[in-house]
Amino acid sequence: MNIIGIILFPPIAFIIGIFFIGLSRRIMARIQWRYGPPITQPIIDIVKLFNQSSVSHGIIFGLGIILSLAGSIVVVLFLPLGKICPISNSGGLLVILYLMILMPLGAALSGGEAANPNTSIGISRKLILALGYEVPLLLILLAVMTYYKTISIVEIVTMQQSVGWSLISLPLLLSGIAYLFILPAILGVRPFELIQAPQEISSGPIVEYGGKFLALATIQHAFGLFIGVALFVNLFLGGGGIGSISTQLGSILTSAGLGCIVSFLTGLIFFLKMLVVFVICIFINAVYPRLRIEQAVKYLWKWPTMLAFAGLVIVFIIRR
C-alpha cells in the first residue's frame, strides 16, 4: 500500500500543481477581460521546452535544479492527501521544515553557476524572502505542534476530524490568519512576486534557463504550489475531512470493505479545499502590485510575526 502511494503521489501532485498554474493564467485573463490560454497551456509549454535545444553553464547548473526538484518531490511524500500518507510514521512536521529549504537552496546553487547578475539579484531576493517568511512559519508550526502535542502531521489531521478545524477552533485562529498572510510569500505570487520580477530583473533566477532546464524549473514550481497550499489545508482546514458525520460515514464504509472509495472521496475533498485557498491567492495576485524586497521583509516580520507570536502565547497559556 505504501509503495503504491510513493509511486502515485508525485504524479498526482504534479497534475494538481500544473492544473493550478493553468488555472491561475486562465483566471488572471478573465479578471483582465481576456479569454486567456487553454487550461492545458503549461503542459504544451513543457512539451515544447523538452524539445528545444538548451545551453548549460556547468554541471551544478543542471544538478541544482534536480536537487530542488527532488527536494520538493520528497516533501510531497510526507504530506497526507486526504486519508493516505505514504511516509506517515517518520519525522512529520520537522522533516518537512528541513526538506523545504532544499527548494531555494537548489535554485541558489544552480543560479550561482550561471553567473548572470540578474540571477544573483533574484537568488538573493529569494533567500531573503525565505528568511522573511520562515520566522512566522516557525512560530505558527510551533503553536500547532504545542496545541496538538504532537509533531506528526497525520495525527494533527486525524485530531481535527474529532475536534473541528484548527482555523475555526479559537486558540489557533490567530496562527491560521498569520499563515494566510504569509501564504502569498510561500507561493511567490504577486505582492511577493519580486523573485521573478520580469520587468525589473528579467525573470530573476530563471533568466539563464532555457529548454529542458526551464521545463524542470516549471515542474518544480508546480510542486512548490502544491506543497504551499497542501500544508495549509492539512494544518488548518482539517485535511480531507469535513466534520464528525463524515468521519462516521467513512468508518462505516471502511468496515463495509469500501476503503478505496473513502480514500478517493477524502482526496477529492482535499483537492476542493486546496482549490478554494489557491483561488483566493490568485485574486490577491490579480489586484496587488509588487512590493520591494525591504518592504516585503518589513511586512513579513511585522504583522504575520506579531499575530503568530500572539497565537503562540495563547496556545501556551491554554496548554500549560
Partner: protein
C-alpha cells in the same frame, strides 16, 4: 487551428509544441513596438494562442523585430538571436526591416535585415495593425507544419555568408563565431 487534435499531438508532439507555445522576444527598435501592447493585452489577447512575451532570449523561440534597425541596434539583435535556443523563428514587423521603408536613404539604417540574420516571415505595412501579427502567426503555423520555417537551419548552413556580411558592416565583429567557420577553399582538396 488544430490545437485540440489529440492524434496530431501523439504523432508529432515537438512540432505541435513549437506551434502552440510561441514565447516571444519583442525587440523594441522603433515605432512598431507601439502595436505590441494592444496585441498582448485585453483588446486582442495574444495569450489565447499561447503567445506570451518573455524577458530573456534563453526562453524565447519567436523573435519579433518591430521597426527600423539602426547599425548600432543590429549588434544587439544578432547577439540576442544567437542566444535563443533552437528551433527559433524570426519575423520582421513593418516595412523598415524589409527594405528600409521610409529610411531608405539613411546612412545609419540597415536596409535588408535578412542579409545579417535569417528571417522566416515579414509583416509589411507602415504600421501594420495588431491583427497583422495574428495573420503572421497563422502563416508561421503553416510554415512550421510544412517544415519551411527553417531560418535557424539556414543560419547554421550559411553561417559563413552571414558572418561575412556582419564583418563587412562592422569591420571586426566583437563576439566569437557561433558555429565553426570552415574554409573549404583554402584547405584545399587534399
Amino acid at each position: 487551428m488544430d490545437r485540440n487534435n489529440f492524434i496530431k499531438w501523439l504523432k508529432a508532439p515537438a512540432k505541435m509544441g513549437h506551434k502552440y507555445s510561441l514565447h516571444v522576444v519583442y525587440f523594441c527598435t522603433g515605432c512598431g513596438i507601439i502595436e505590441i501592447p494592444p496585441s498582448i493585452t485585453t483588446r486582442w489577447d495574444a495569450e489565447r494562442f499561447g503567445i506570451i512575451p518573455v524577458a530573456t532570449p534563453r526562453q524565447a523561440n519567436l523573435f519579433l523585430i518591430t521597426g527600423y534597425v539602426s547599425v548600432k541596434t543590429l549588434k544587439a539583435i544578432i547577439r540576442t538571436y544567437e542566444q535563443m535556443p533552437e528551433p527559433k523563428f524570426t519575423v520582421g514587423f513593418g516595412s523598415c526591416p524589409i527594405n528600409g521603408g521610409m529610411y531608405w536613404d539613411s546612412y545609419n539604417t540597415i536596409k535588408h535585415l535578412d542579409k545579417y540574420i535569417p528571417v522566416d516571415g515579414w509583416i509589411a505595412g507602415c504600421m501594420p495593425r495588431p491583427e497583422a501579427i495574428f495573420v503572421a502567426v497563422t502563416h508561421l503555423w503553416t510554415l512550421i507544419d510544412k517544415e519551411m520555417a527553417n531560418g535557424y537551419k539556414r543560419y547554421r548552413e550559411n553561417y559563413k555568408y552571414y558572418r561575412a556580411n556582419q564583418e563587412q558592416l562592422y569591420g571586426k565583429v566583437e563576439w566569437p563565431p557561433l558555429f565553426p567557420i570552415e574554409d573549404k577553399d583554402e584547405s584545399g582538396p587534399s
